[in-house]
């Protein structure tokens, strides 16, 4: 199947008082219709900016997309006119954000905010748009949708607001739904419900999903493909089962180790990755991860590792990804950790 979305070498920079921030540095990936891509990384790894860049929503003039292509159904979003981009936003590609508390406008009724894109993109009347908004709220599981549509956001609970955000994003039946940390700001119990809802909506509408999160656990269950980002670059990318099962990058290992294990009764020890994510103004020379990498060697400090295909076919950006001995060594490490 042809890719619905193909991103090639996307790079975005921010000019700040202290210097230039390379928020996204040459990121490439593809998304097929109806599939789910998980984008994973610590905060500040450039995941959100990647998404905003695809929507051309990077705040100018501080932020600027400096290179690459974002091909949506073959057309480069980065070369589109302002008008074409607007026609696409909210209509073909929709987005939901991390904090549903602040992402809804406090002074407009929920129903109206959902209907807004229908009026805009589908040319609906206010009345029709409102009726459709009620249907959508009902679909995302808001009880008494017709009454609740007349409420203001602050009258909704956090989970309900995120449901409303999802309804808003799905209003125009988009090809792609970008969910930027959709559960981070929510209670743990609500998180699962929202994830479930997103998957249910995907089944129902067939929309492709890009889910951005710092939580590997979130994507493990639902993503077909996973992209791991670090310091604005992708470090590992491929089918979910390979990235998780046959991971070849120490950073991904670190992420996996810092994950609570749901699959065993054993209380596995959580191992956080040591050190801080780097400043994106002075990205460490060579492999950006080397200051925190327990396996770093001379080459890691001097050369940027290329993103190369591994045996399993997924991509990894570590100098030693192709080294079988290195991998075996790691397997032992992991076992040790698991045994402790």
């Amino acid at each position: 199947m042809p890719a619905l979305l193909e991103v090639r070498g996307l790079s975005t920079r921010f000019t700040t008082r202290d210097g230039i921030v390379k928020a996204v540095d040459g990121v490439s990936f593809a998304l097929e219709p109806g599939k789910t891509l998980g984008v994973v990384g610590e905060s500040g790894s450039g995941k959100s900016v990647t998404a905003l860049s695809m929507m051309r929503l990077v705040a100018e003039p501080q932020g600027k997309i400096v290179g690459g292509e974002v091909l949506f159904k073959g057309a480069d979003v980065l070369k589109m006119s302002e008008r074409e981009v607007r026609d696409m936003r909210g209509n073909r590609i929709a987005m939901i954000f991390q904090d549903p508390m602040t992402s809804l406008n406090p002074v407009f009724r929920v129903g109206r905010q959902i209907g807004e894109s229908l009026i805009l993109h589908k040319g609906m009347s206010r009345k029709d748009a409102f009726d459709r908004a009620v249907q959508l709220l009902d679909m995302v599981g808001i009880p008494n949708a017709r009454d609740r549509a007349k409420d203001y956001p602050h009258q909704f609970s956090g989970g309900m607001r995120q449901r409303a955000m999802i309804a808003m994003a799905l209003a125009c039946d988009p090809d792609i739904l970008i969910a930027d940390e959709p559960t981070t700001a929510l209670d743990v119990t609500i998180q699962a419900q929202i994830l479930e809802l997103i998957m249910e909506m995907q089944e129902r509408t067939g929309t492709a999903i890009i889910i951005i999160t710092h939580d590997l656990g979130v994507v493990a269950d639902i993503a077909n493909d996973v992209m791991v980002m670090y310091a604005g670059r992708q470090v590992e990318y491929g089918e979910s089962r390979h990235v998780f099962g046959d991971s070849l990058h120490p950073y991904t290992w670190g992420l996996l180790d810092s994950l609570p294990r749901h699959d065993s009764d054993e209380k596995g020890e959580l191992v956080p990755i040591e050190g801080q994510p780097p400043s994106l103004i002075n990205v460490p020379y060579g492999c950006a991860f080397h200051p925190r990498c327990p396996y770093a060697e001379e080459i890691c400090r001097s050369e940027v590792p290329p993103l190369l295909a591994t045996d399993t076919g997924h991509l990894s950006a570590c100098h030693f990804s192709a080294d079988p001995a290195f991998r075996r060594g790691m397997d032992r490490d992991q076992e040790r950790v698991a045994l402790k």
């Binding site: 905003l52 929507m55 929503l57 607007r86 026609d87 696409m88 936003r89 909210g90 209509n91 929709a94 987005m95 954000f97 904090d99 602040t102 992402s103 809804l104 406008n105 406090p106 002074v107 407009f108 807004e116 894109s117 805009l120 993109h121 409420d151 203001y152 602050h154 009258q155 955000m165 808003m168």
Partner: protein, 325 residues
């Protein structure tokens, strides 16, 4: 909403008591180094018999708390005393001045809204542009200008110099009595701009910062992600949020203007409450001065209450309770 209204009115009670207490203290004997009788009669010699009579009437020989009760009773009945020099009740004197002050303050508010909001919005939308710098700089200067001086400059420039330079073709009326050649509203132009000058600068500043703050919020990004035009996002989603605090400021300013009008009215010989107070100051006719102050103070309190209530109408977070930030 009803609950909110009731709560607001209840919250006003301590302020009301405080305000009347201060007004009372200002004329109560023995509290401040002033002669209460002097505050009631103005500064002129009075026969002892009359003095006696005044002390009796205002219960000045009674304990303070009794005096306070009597004082409040009089206030609530609209009895602000009498101008002993003109022999008229103070309330009467102000009755026909009041509409003029109201009219002037109203015109001032219109100036403030039109110029202040526009300047603030332009400044925010074009942040760091030449216009933004211009607005920021002129607001700094404007808050430092004494309004009465500004009024005088306006009169010199628009009333006289402009007339000289254009051979009498173009000029503006400089006071209400100046001439019949102008339509009624034209007399309001200069006083209204003068009265509104400082407030306009503040409104522009607040509008700018509120707008910038609103435009940095997450819901703006949501609106952009929907595919709305930047203009629609700015003026629908941004402006509506930014306006709420600004409208409150403007509302409260209406009261501030009524109080501050004394300077503008004095400069333009505008026959309002403020000018009456000014004239009374010159004659040391304290009952009129205090009466005028009291009228304005109560008016300001009422305006502030109305503003508070309308704030709730504007902001659904307050109207429907909930966790407003």
């Amino acid at each position: 909403m009803l609950k909110y209204t009731v709560r607001r009115i209840f919250q006003m009670i301590p302020v009301f008591i405080g305000v009347t207490l201060i007004l009372f203290i200002l004329r109560a004997p023995g509290v401040l180094p002033g002669d209460p009788v002097r505050m009631i009669t103005g500064e002129r010699a009075i026969p002892d018999a009359l003095r006696e009579q005044i002390v009796k009437k205002h219960a000045l020989d009674q304990p303070l708390h009794r005096q306070y009760v009597i004082y409040i009773g009089n206030l609530l009945q609209g009895d602000l005393g009498e101008s002993y020099q003109r022999g008229r009740p103070v309330l009467d004197i102000f009755a026909d001045k009041f509409p003029n002050t109201l009219r002037l303050a109203f015109a001032g508010i219109i100036v403030e809204i039109i110029i202040g909001l526009t300047a603030g919005i332009i400044s925010a939308v074009r942040q760091y542009s030449f216009l933004d710098v211009l607005v920021t700089l002129s607001t700094s200067i404007l808050v430092s200008v004494p309004v009465f001086w500004l009024g005088m400059l306006f009169q010199i420039f628009f009333g006289i110099k402009l007339k000289e330079w254009t051979g009498g073709a173009v000029h503006l009326p400089i006071s209400q009595m100046s001439s019949a050649e102008f339509p009624d509203w034209a007399h309001l132009i200069l006083p209204a701009i003068t009265l509104a000058s400082v407030s306009t600068a503040y409104v522009a500043r607040i509008m700018r910062s509120q707008m910038l703050e609103a435009m940095g919020q997450d819901y703006i990004r949501t609106a952009l992600a929907k595919g709305l035009t930047r203009r629609a996002v700015t003026f629908r989603h941004g402006l509506k949020n930014a306006l709420i605090p600004v409208v409150t400021f403007v509302g409260i300013d209406f009261g501030v203007m009524m109080g501050g009008a004394i300077l503008t009215e004095t400069v333009f010989s505008w026959p309002g409450v403020g000018r009456e107070i000014f004239l009374a100051v010159g004659q040391r006719d304290w009952p009129i001065v205090m009466g005028g102050v009291i009228i304005i103070v109560f008016l300001v309190m009422i305006i502030n209450l109305i503003v508070d209530l309308s704030y709730a109408l504007l902001d659904p977070r307050i109207r429907y309770g909930g966790d407003a930030e």
